[in-house]
Each structure stands twice: as structure tokens, then as C-alpha cells.
């Protein structure tokens, strides 16, 4: 049995997709010779050579544009934007072009690219290196958004992202780099748009993504002692959004708490809450709660950052407040 961690799963995921399809190329800053600023792409340049793995200048707009243009010419580029926060420097290319070209050309052109970015807080990187950009991305029709929480999901979802005919933003949570799991077999694919029930339960539904999945699971354990039996759902992809799984769970539990890293204002948790308050209203026995970070940028200081991040204890407190 081979064990792989989330950090290494990234290079493994990219390698699998490149082995499968010669049209897959990979570009980004320091991804080739150096193997990535976070060592998440080690070995790719060695395996696939300088005609498939490219170091670029520091120019995110050029990186995204290059990926779009090459995709329109039939390639399957993977573009790395080192930190998700930097998506702000190339947002036009992503939101106004990659996501809209298929629609604007009524299907003549498509933009099958995967944009990978390291996102998330918890490592003391401060306000400009800790964001997820997940809610912003989710708000853009034409862009798919993937937020894996485990190594094997990462590998499986990545295969779907690369094969997908539409642009995909793939956000890897850097606080999960050390999470370990059994290496999934070759050919392991997880479809986009299918949430995963990571814990079954009947009293209350917790929905989370990325680094909040372990937090939600831990909260479920905490309240287990009080005989509250939580179901925990990992959305895995934000677009397509698997509302079916969420609603099916709420139908059973009648109670819903959403756990989102970041302020959550106009985030995925607000969208899921809004949809349940419409489509699942009659299933609910109690208000929909969200446990998010406070509405502030990510503070640097370790003590503040730790306060900022949702914790199992605070999720548990919210759960208990229903009873």
C-alpha cells in the first residue's frame, strides 16, 4: 500500500493527466526547473520535458491568456497561479474571457483549461496570501470550481477537470498539504458535480469544503458524545453544485449548518443557504446557520489567524444551540 500526501498528490494528478493525453501542457511561475514554490510540481519537468512543462515570467495575465489561446487551438493547458490571491491580477482573463468565450461564440470555441492555485489560510501567510477566491469564482457562469479536501479526491477530480471541455478553477488548500491517504489506483476518476457524504448521520447536516471538512468532521465527533448524530457533506466542487445531495440530506435531518473558511459573504455557503431556503424550505425545522470567518481580511499573527478560522469547537457550539 502506497501512502501519498496532498502536496505530492498534486504532481501525481498532473502527471497522470499528462501521461493520458499528449495535448496536456503545463505552465506557471517556477513550476518546471524548481518544481513549484510549494514543491507541488516536482518531477514533472523531468518526466515530460521542456516541450510540455514551462516556467513563465511573472505575468499572470500572460499565463492565463496563453492557456486560453492554446486551448482554443486544441491543446489542454494547465496553468498554475501560485497563490489563489493572485487571481486578482488576472481576473479579467478568467472571468471575462475563459468563462465567456464559449457562450459569446455560441459554441464555436471552447476553453478547456485548468487553472490551479494554492489557496487558503492557516499557515501565517497574511492577508494577501491566504484567500480562496472560491465564492468569486463560483459566481461566474462558464467557470467550474473544484475544491478537493483529500489526496485521492484531488487526484480523481483533477482527471475530470483536465478532461472537462470547459475552464476549471482548481483550488488546492495549502493547509492540507500534509494530509495522507492511500494512493488511488491508476484510472481513478472522481466526477465533477458530485458531493460526498463523508459521515452519515440523521440529526443535522453539516456542509463543508476543503480544510473545513476535517473541522466539520471533528465537530461531528464532539457532539456525538451528546448523542447528536451529524451527517457531513464535502461538496468537492462548487460549480457544478450538487444541491441534490444537500437537499437529500436536509430532507433526512431537517437542520443545516454550513462551514465556510473565509468571511462567506456572497460565498458558497450563502448560495447553498439561499437555495435550501427556497427549494428545501419545507424540510427545515430550524434556521440555517453558517459558521464562517469574521468579515475581515486574514490577519497575520498566529493567534489572530487561529481565531479567524472556524474551529470544531465553534461549529459544535452552533450545533448544540439547536437543542
Amino acid at each position: 500500500m502506497t501512502i501519498i500526501n496532498y502536496r505530492k498528490a498534486i504532481a501525481e494528478a498532473i502527471a497522470r493527466s499528462m501521461r493520458e493525453d499528449p495535448k496536456v501542457v503545463f505552465l506557471g511561475e517556477d513550476v518546471a526547473l524548481a518544481g513549484g514554490a510549494f514543491k507541488t510540481t516536482v518531477g514533472l519537468r523531468e518526466e515530460f520535458g521542456p516541450t510540455r512543462v514551462f516556467d513563465t515570467p511573472i505575468s499572470e495575465q500572460a499565463i492565463i491568456g496563453a492557456a486560453i489561446g492554446a486551448a482554443m487551438r486544441g491543446l489542454r493547458p494547465i496553468a498554475e497561479i501560485m497563490f489563489a490571491d493572485f487571481l486578482g491580477t488576472c481576473w479579467d482573463g478568467i472571468a471575462n474571457h475563459a468563462a465567456k468565450i464559449r457562450y459569446m461564440t455560441d459554441g464555436a470555441y471552447s476553453v478547456p483549461i485548468v487553472i490551479r492555485a494554492h489557496g487558503g489560510a492557516g499557515l501565517g501567510f497574511g492577508a494577501q496570501h491566504s484567500q480562496l477566491y472560491d465564492g468569486l469564482a463560483m459566481s461566474i457562469p462558464g467557470l467550474k470550481v473544484v475544491v478537493p479536501s483529500t489526496p485521492s479526491d484531488l487526484i480523481g477530480l483533477f482527471q475530470s477537470a483536465v478532461r472537462d471541455p470547459d475552464p476549471v478553477l482548481f483550488i488546492e488548500h495549502k493547509a492540507l498539504f500534509d494530509v495522507k491517504e492511500e494512493m488511488p489506483p491508476e484510472g481513478h476518476v472522481v466526477p465533477l458535480g458530485k458531493a460526498q457524504v463523508v459521515r452519515e448521520g440523521s440529526d443535522l447536516t453539516l456542509v463543508a469544503t476543503g480544510a473545513m471538512v476535517p473541522v466539520a468532521l471533528a465537530a461531528a465527533e464532539l457532539v456525538q458524545d451528546r448523542r447528536i448524530d451529524c451527517e457531513v457533506i464535502d461538496l468537492r466542487t462548487l460549480t457544478p453544485l450538487d444541491m441534490h445531495s444537500v437537499l437529500r440530506s436536509v430532507e433526512k435531518t431537517s437542520r443545516l449548518i454550513l462551514v465556510e473558511e473565509g468571511p462567506g459573504i456572497c460565498g458558497w455557503s450563502s448560495e447553498v443557504a439561499a437555495r435550501v431556503a427556497d427549494e428545501g424550505f419545507w424540510m427545515l425545522d430550524a434556521p440555517i446557520r453558517r459558521v464562517c470567518s469574521p468579515p475581515t481580511p486574514t490577519p497575520f499573527s498566529e493567534s489572530l489567524e487561529s481565531l479567524w478560522l472556524p474551529k470544531a469547537e465553534s461549529v459544535a457550539a452552533e450545533i448544540e444551540s439547536y437543542w
Partner: protein, 320 residues
């Protein structure tokens, strides 16, 4: 352009077709049939036609919201262009793109882009693809003088130069970005050419109202690109006869300047050089007008997009 004794008439006709097309778009706009905004290229036909004659079939072209001339010169059927501008189902983008976004994949017309500078990195990507697939194509990317001040121009030029990509950048310097004179917003005389050195490229300034000069410069640049010697940045001096868009009369421009440039009209210039009689020029003009009118009639007869078109092609069919 010179081998065939009638070749120059073909060149003229191309410019006239564009001119007549643009005139008709202007009337359609005034009649309330074209919505939103539209940006005409009267006066800039030589850049488009010269470029089109220099490129090879299948060479990708990316242009801007002011892109009717480039797309038509590269073969976009007039009817398809009109229908798109009128928002009809038969338009090149099914009516979902509009005047600013003329595109035709079958002609490697990779799109007209409405956010300044945004298409330059995309064009670089198209050229990059050619180096990976060895398809032998050379990409051509056109933008305005005002576009040389935006960040994506710089990022794209740098990447294209470092990677020595097969791409020809053409800056149509028509002296204005919207209502602002280019001299007011750049600290150099030639917004593109004076920056070529920053990317290790040659300084190239040409008369953009001279089809032959354009054709020659683009041909040379294409050869260079084909030979693996990387990108070129060509600054073509030209002028738009009208305003920036729609109803803009362009009266912020000195009258003498406008007159000077009207006297350098690319069509009469070319006709004069090739000794085409006024009468013949008028005949050709009438021919172009006829073709444009026929195309417009067909476009006007075409239906609006079906309601289902609203939801289609956000995602691929496979994935939705």
C-alpha cells in the same frame, strides 16, 4: 498583388467592400437597428487588407471591438457579419456576440475582444500552440495605439519575445484612443515602435494607409516568425475617418488633421497609384455596394435567435 494585371482591382474591391459595409452599419445604427455600441474602421481598410494578403490560410487572427475590417478582410462573409451585428440567429456568433465580437473558427478568426489588451495574451497562447503542434501557422494580433499602455500588452509582448513565438503584432496607430490623443497618454512618439526595444524587437513603423507597405511588412514578419525567429511588432500609422463609436462626430480632432488624413485615404491612394480611373473606381464601388446590400437584405430577413439559445453553450453539451 502585382502578378495578375487585375490583382489590384481585387485589392481595391476588398477595401471597398469594407468601406461600404461600415457605411451601412452606421446607417443601421442611426436607424436603431444596431444596439449597444459599434466601432467603424473607415479609413483603416489598408491595414486589414494588407494583413490579410500577407497571411496564409489558417493563420489565426485576433482583433478588437473595432474588428469588422480585419474579419471581413480575412473572409468573414458579409451576411454573417451583418447578421451578428443585428443580433440574428444566422450571425457568426448566433447573435450572442455582437458587433464587438465577430469570430469565425472556420477561418481561424479567433475572436474580436472588447476589453482593451485582453486578446494579446490570448494571441500569444495561439502562437504558443503552433510551436507545440508544429502546425506552421503564424498568429496575427491587432490592437490600437491606446492599447500599448495597458498591462496585458506588456506581459504578452514579453512572453512572446522570450519564447520566440510565431506571432505578428500589429498596432493600428490611428492617433486616438476614444477621444484622447495618443500624445497625451504616452511619453514617446510611437506608442508601439518606441517600445519594441523593451522586448528585444526591431522598431518598425509603416504607412498603414498603404496596402502594399502593410502587406510587405506583415509578409516579412510572417517569414521571420515561420523561420523560428520570433515575434514582430509593427506600428501602422492610419486614421479613422469617423468618430470612436456610434454617434461620435470626432470633433475633438483638429480640422486640418482630419483633412490631411482624408487626403491620404487608403482607397484613393491605392487607386491613384495603380492608375484606376475614377469611372472604374465607381464601378467597383457599385459592385461592392451591391454585394453589401444583398448581404444586408439576407441578414435582415434572418430570424432572431430562438429562446433556447439563451441557455445553450454556457457549458459544453457533454457537461451540462
Amino acid at each position: 498583388m502585382t502578378a495578375n494585371p487585375h490583382a489590384h482591382e481585387h485589392v481595391l474591391l476588398q477595401m471597398l467592400r469594407i468601406r461600404e459595409f461600415e457605411n451601412r452599419v452606421q446607417s443601421l445604427f442611426s436607424d436603431g437597428l444596431v444596439k449597444g455600441s459599434t466601432h467603424l474602421a473607415n479609413g483603416q481598410e489598408a491595414v486589414a487588407v494588407g494583413m490579410a494578403f500577407a497571411l496564409h490560410p489558417g493563420d489565426p487572427v485576433l482583433c478588437t471591438y473595432r474588428g469588422h475590417h480585419h474579419t471581413i478582410a480575412r473572409g468573414l462573409p458579409l451576411e454573417s457579419a451583418f447578421a451578428e451585428i443585428l443580433g440574428r440567429a444566422t450571425g457568426c456568433c448566433g447573435g450572442k456576440g455582437g458587433s464587438m465580437h465577430l469570430t469565425d473558427k472556420s477561418l481561424a478568426l479567433m475572436g474580436s475582444y472588447a476589453i482593451i489588451g485582453s486578446h494579446i495574451p490570448i494571441a500569444v497562447g495561439a502562437a504558443w500552440a503552433s510551436t507545440l503542434t508544429h502546425d506552421g501557422a503564424v498568429t496575427c494580433c491587432i490592437f490600437g495605439d491606446g492599447t500599448t499602455t495597458i498591462g496585458s500588452f506588456h506581459e504578452a509582448l514579453n512572453l512572446a519575445a522570450v519564447w520566440r513565438l510565431p506571432i505578428v503584432f500589429i498596432c493600428e496607430n490611428n492617433l486616438y484612443s476614444e477621444y484622447t490623443a495618443i500624445g497625451d497618454v504616452v511619453p514617446i512618439e510611437h506608442p508601439a515602435a518606441d517600445r519594441a526595444g523593451a522586448y528585444g524587437l526591431d522598431r518598425i513603423v509603416i504607412d498603414g494607409n498603404d496596402v502594399e507597405a502593410v502587406k510587405e511588412a506583415v509578409s516579412l514578419a510572417r517569414e521571420r516568425a515561420s523561420a523560428g525567429r520570433g515575434p514582430s511588432l509593427i506600428e501602422a500609422l492610419t486614421y479613422r475617418h469617423g468618430g470612436h463609436s456610434r454617434a461620435d462626430p470626432g470633433d475633438y480632432r483638429p480640422r486640418e488633421e482630419v483633412e490631411l488624413w482624408l487626403s491620404r485615404d487608403p482607397i484613393s491612394k491605392y487607386a491613384d497609384r495603380h492608375e484606376v480611373s475614377t469611372q472604374r473606381l465607381e464601378q467597383l464601388g457599385a459592385e461592392a455596394r451591391d454585394e453589401v446590400d444583398r448581404a444586408l437584405r439576407k441578414a435582415l430577413a434572418a430570424p432572431a435567435p430562438a429562446a433556447e439559445a439563451l441557455l445553450s453553450n454556457v457549458w459544453s453539451e457533454e457537461s451540462s
